[in-house]
Amino acid sequence: MDPFATLGVPRRYELDLLAVEKTHRELSRALHPDRFAGASPSERRDALAKAVEVNEAWRILRDPIRRAEALLRLLGVPVGEDREPKADPDFLMEMLEQREALAEAKASRDLPAVRSLAKGIEGRARAVEGELGTAFDLDESAQGAAAREAVVRKLGELRFYRRFLEEVSAIEDELAA
């Protein structure tokens, strides 16, 4: 599936998500089962299948990681387990230190420290998303294998940040309880 085509938006990383959301809402409304009450069973089935596809496309495009994965797949670059380059050792060392600091903040129930660590990672995630936008915007023909590998690396970094922030949410829930 090409989520960009499904929602009729340009195939690029940086999107006006408010506009995409609006398109998604309009399409969903047009495909709502209520509108097909009098239609034939096959038309109803088609509309339902299309509605499912539209929802899935929106879930992909709104997510910075899944959007990048979709773009890479459309460019013929394999993504996912075992197909991605190993993370840079210095980056891993730093992520491990950040995770350790987070674990310490959790152990001492220091919510401000948790939030401050989260803020740092959120800022870095946003910066990487910006870099991805620029990288994807380059003319496709100008992108060599090295440039694509750099994009996949950035995507990997984003996943480490997401993992970190998921842990932050879990800790916030736990400390608030």
């Binding site: 996912g80 387990e81 075992d82 991605e84 380059p85 190993k86 993370a87 050792p89 980056f91 891993l92 060392m93 992520m95 491990l96 995770r99 350790e100 674990a103 996949v152 690396r153 995507l155 990997g156 996943r159 480490f160 940040y161 997401r162 993992r163 970190f164 842990e167």
Partner: protein, 137 residues
């Protein structure tokens, strides 16, 4: 997802969590990450003069299967020579822990961590040999 009993056992009571002194020449440190999911794993070994792994510690930030895989890995490599430890395959971890297909990458991570710790230890030994700090070796 349902974890196997062995995964839960290791997850709830992980063996060998901790750190060894990274700057100790007899300690090798392996640091690996899974770009596909964001898990981070550190595995360390202390090797004696006979090339036997005397101690192993790990620290894993990841899911239950990743923690169980690294916990099991440290248990297995203790008492083994580095050559023996190096031959451990991720499929053995999968089998022992009954990992489902979606969690196989956790066992790959543990195997990589062992290999990376051994590689780090060897690199240190070579550097020492070059600097003439070992006796006659």
């Amino acid at each position: 997802m349902a974890y196997s009993n062995k995964v839960i056992e290791h997850y709830e009571n992980p063996k060998n969590v901790g750190t060894l002194d990274k700057s100790d020449p007899s300690v090798g440190t392996g640091l690996v990450g899974a770009p596909a999911c964001g898990d981070v794993m550190r595995l360390q070994i202390r090797v004696n003069d006979d090339g036997v792994i005397e101690d192993a510690k790990f620290k894993t930030f990841g899911c239950g299967s990743a923690i169980a895989s690294s916990s099991l890995a440290t248990e297995w490599i203790k008492g083994k020579t580095i050559d023996e430890a190096e031959s451990i395959k991720n499929s053995q971890i999968v089998e022992e822990l009954n990992l489902p297909p979606v969690k196989i990458h956790c066992s790959v991570l543990a195997e990589d961590a062992i290999k990376s710790a051994i590689a780090d230890f060897r690199k240190k030994q070579e550097a020492r040999a070059k600097n003439g700090q070992t006796n006659g070796k």
